[in-house]
Symmetry: D2
Subunit: 93 residues, 4 copies
């Protein structure tokens, strides 16, 4: 059980759609479509991946991090440090 369990189906649907976008990108390149059009579609897929990240992170804060804080102790500090590192990776990618 994780933070995202309640929205598992929604996340899977989004990732399925992103998989379709990535396959669409391969078709575009196979068909020699125009570079700029390919770039536009890559930006769309990137934003869709970011949206999944932001959703997972929100649920992680709401459930895993909140639970650790309620339980108290050093586990809470570790969970927050871990979340902050994940946010940093997200911002820099």
């Amino acid at each position: 059980m994780h933070g995202y369990t309640d929205n598992k189906d929604a996340h899977l649907r989004r990732l399925k759609r992103i998989e379709g976008q990535v396959r669409g990108l391969q078709r575009m390149i196979e068909n020699d479509e125009y570079c700029i059009d390919v770039l536009t579609q890559i930006s769309a897929a990137t934003r869709a991946l970011q949206a999944v990240s932001l959703g997972l992170l929100d649920e992680h804060l709401k459930h895993c991090v909140s639970q650790a804080i309620t339980d108290g102790g050093t586990a809470a500090d570790e969970k927050i440090a871990e979340a902050s590192n994940a946010i940093a990776r997200l911002v820099r990618s």
Copy 2:
């Protein structure tokens, strides 16, 4: 024929690998893997998509934009404006 035609196979291989990463993300969520581990893998897929974008853009500048500039006329200005817009979308996504 586009800027990326010479590297078509390399781009397709990269996108195939990204498609595998996105399928891997679905498996992680199906198996209830830990949120932070899913986020790490999404960051990796996002960076891989960006690398494809940066490669396509470099080739676009080298071929399509360079050709338009060599040909001269207003087509060159349009190609540069179009490339700048694509760069802006990339930076903001």
Copy 3:
């Protein structure tokens, strides 16, 4: 009193340094320095601003959000929603 109060001096020093970087950018442009060198320095200032953001956010989670969760009630949900929105703005900027 906020999450960042303990590190106020460190944040102010960092922002003072970023202010210096932005003044340095103005000098570079006044002196007609090379575009690419100006861009490199803008990337450095942007990353420095992001580092301040990530520090503030980490402290916000550690103090304000943790406190709201410990106190319980709807305030905790609001704090987490607010933090998630701030993270989304950060990722997209």
Copy 4:
């Protein structure tokens, strides 16, 4: 003389405004303003810096890179490689 010379005053005005934003951030922290409000203002300053970058890059393509391509030779390839590297730094920062 560089790509941005024609818009030098506009860039300087923008950077002057960003310098003001960074000083405003220092005041916010000195006055213990709310973390999330500080983060919102950092996002605004970051986006303003990106806008300067995108403007400089557009002018760089229009002038320096175009000139190198018109002149022909290996200088054109070097200019494009240099621009692509600057774009990559921008995307990743």
